[in-house]
């Protein structure tokens, strides 16, 4: 690893620690990182949009035209139309002409809702209903194991559970009698579902922290040249940078503790 790469890595670790400092309290380092990331991600997006979409999907289509002909003489001149409609979007900022932006909006909304109707109906509703309407495997009701996911019991539970949960969602009729019983079963099923979901959410959040620890460890390894591949460019400057950052963090923590104690004394 080159020293410059190591410096970049150090920069990443510094920003990681700056962001983590929010756990203690809001502070200038966190604010700096927070505002920086908004700008950098927007800038990244601008560049990717430009190189990735505007150039290949619009400019290159009109390349062989001339600007003084308004590109109408290019071989794919019809690409002017979406560009023009797109520019009309910008009238949104004007108080007087913002109604013009509704035309391209109308087109966009019409198309996106139009494609949604048949596909969402078929894939979210029909196919799910179809999957529910399978014949229960009575012969193999417990499948030798109550926790089998393919037994008739599981199929029945999925069927009844989904119907009950749908009933709980869709009918505002007072939940009483048999109807109430089914709706109650529905909410039980939903709660188990949410519980499983929550368990996975905890896992997800913890993973995010693990990733940051792994990056920090990689940085430490790079600083002390402990990696499998020995770095030919390696020198003391790596460790100097490492200790400078550690020193800075420790200093900051001590400073915080001291000011905390002082404020308590007052």
């Amino acid at each position: 690893m080159e020293f410059s790469d190591f410096l970049w890595m150090t920069c990443g670790i510094f920003l990681t620690l700056a962001t983590f400092s929010f756990l203690y309290k809001d502070n200038p380092f966190y604010k700096f990182a927070e505002h920086l990331v908004v700008g950098v991600s927007a800038g990244f997006f601008v560049v990717v949009l430009w190189h990735g979409t505007l150039v290949p999907n619009l400019f290159q289509k009109l390349e062989d035209g001339d600007w003084y002909m308004l590109w109408l003489n290019s071989s794919e001149w019809w690409y002017i139309i979406p560009a023009l409609l797109g520019v009309l979007m910008w009238t949104r900022f004007s108080k007087e002409y913002s109604w013009v932006s509704r035309w391209p909006m109308g087109l966009y909304i019409g198309i996106s809702t139009g494609i949604a109707i048949p596909l969402e109906m078929s894939n979210r509703v029909n196919k799910q209903l179809h999957a529910m309407m399978i014949e229960i495997d009575w012969a193999n009701f417990f499948g030798g194991n109550i926790l089998s996911t393919t037994s008739g019991f599981a199929q029945l539970l999925i069927f009844v559970g989904a119907i009950a949960a749908l009933i709980y969602f869709f009918f505002s009729k007072e939940h009483k009698g048999l109807f109430g019983g089914v709706a109650t079963f529905g909410i039980w099923i939903l709660m188990i579902g949410f519980g499983a979901s929550f368990g996975y959410t905890v896992m997800a959040r913890v993973s995010l922290f693990i990733n940051r620890m792994q990056d920090t460890k990689d940085w430490g390894i790079a600083a002390f040249n402990n990696a499998e591949v020995v770095n030919p460019h390696y020198g003391a400057q790596y460790q100097i940078v490492f200790w400078l950052l550690v020193l800075f963090v420790v200093g900051y923590i001590i400073n915080e503790i001291v000011s905390h104690l002082k404020s308590k004394q007052v």
């Binding site: 997006f45 990735g52 494609i115 894939n123 993973s207 620890m213």
Partner: protein
């Protein structure tokens, strides 16, 4: 006032920063200790692995990197495991990333994995030893990175017509027709399957607009937060397999004998879960004790 508080009250009014500190200490301690926990694979992940492993050399898989850096912790390990497995088998890959900052993720993953495949390695899975000879991964031959386009639903539908409709050129600006591996590759018909690694709504679009309309085998790698929502699609056969969170990634790493960050992190994951369960239990003990006290006081 404070003298009247019993231990449970005091426990309930603990500054949350102590909880943070405790969790940090446990995580760091577990991470420093060098041990691994066994990973048991599950059917959801095995079906993905078996499908991809059965692909012959030269087939094309579309890997959709639809996540931003905020979800990289869970999804990057999946990308690394899946892509490395495919490249080892000389399966070609078309990358897309329909998430705003996805190109950064895909670009980084492609660079890293290409580097790691330059050396010879031996893998042992399915009871067979596989010798991999290190090779250069070449853009346009082993993979094509199509890059980002906004409005994912339209793009997923557009790719079903022709990749060139929305992607006249790849991320690095080379026209698709100039890339050797894209010769004769028109749309999803030439792709063996789609692996969507996603941290958001784009998965819904892959299911409804992609698989639903063009009927290709679709496999999902999802963040833990989302994973439970997609089981109905697994049950109905619309989705052929699901990897959920870091655990899913660790299972794929285990299956492909390619231990990486996911397997490395699972021990921390386990102990962090212990801590959180401990907090839930403590919170509940405090809750029941103070409720009993209140009831007694009421009587």
């Amino acid at each position: 006032m404070t003298e009247h508080k019993n231990i449970f009250d005091r426990m309930m009014s603990l500054d949350r920063r102590w909880i943070f500190l405790f969790l940090i200490v446990v995580c760091v301690a577990t991470y420093t200790a060098d041990f691994t926990i066994p990973i048991n694979t599950e059917a959801e992940v095995e079906s993905i692995f078996n499908f991809l492993d059965s692909l012959p050399e030269g087939d094309i898989v579309l890997v959709a990197i639809d996540y931003d850096p905020n979800n990289l912790a869970e999804l990057h390990p999946m990308t690394y495991a899946v892509v490395e497995h495919l490249w080892r088998k000389k399966v070609k890959i078309i990358f897309t990333s329909l998430s705003q900052l996805g190109p950064a993720m895909a670009d980084q993953a492609i660079r890293d994995i290409s580097d790691s495949l330059k050396v010879d390695k031996t893998y042992n899975y399915n009871g067979v030893e596989h010798n991999f000879k290190g090779r250069e991964i070449v853009n346009g031959v082993d993979y094509t990175f199509l890059g980002f386009k906004p409005y994912y639903a339209l793009i997923i539908l557009g790719m079903g017509q022709d990749f060139r409709l929305n992607f006249p050129s790849d991320y690095y600006g080379t026209p698709l027709d100039d890339l050797p591996m894209m010769q004769g590759v028109i749309n999803y018909d030439q792709v063996a399957c789609v692996v969507d690694l996603s941290g958001g709504n784009i998965t819904d679009a892959w299911i409804s607009y992609g698989q639903g309309r063009f009927n290709f085998p679709l496999m999902l790698g999802l963040t833990g937060v989302m994973v439970s929502q997609y089981y109905p699609f697994l049950g109905s056969g619309q989705v052929s397999g699901i990897m959920g969170g870091l655990l899913g990634a660790a299972q794929y790493e285990e299956l492909a004998d390619n231990p990486g960050r996911a397997k490395d992190g699972m021990r921390v994951q386990l102990f962090a879960h212990y801590v959180i369960i401990l907090f839930i239990v403590l919170g509940n003990i405090g809750f029941f004790m103070s409720r009993r006290k209140r009831m007694e006081g009421g009587n």
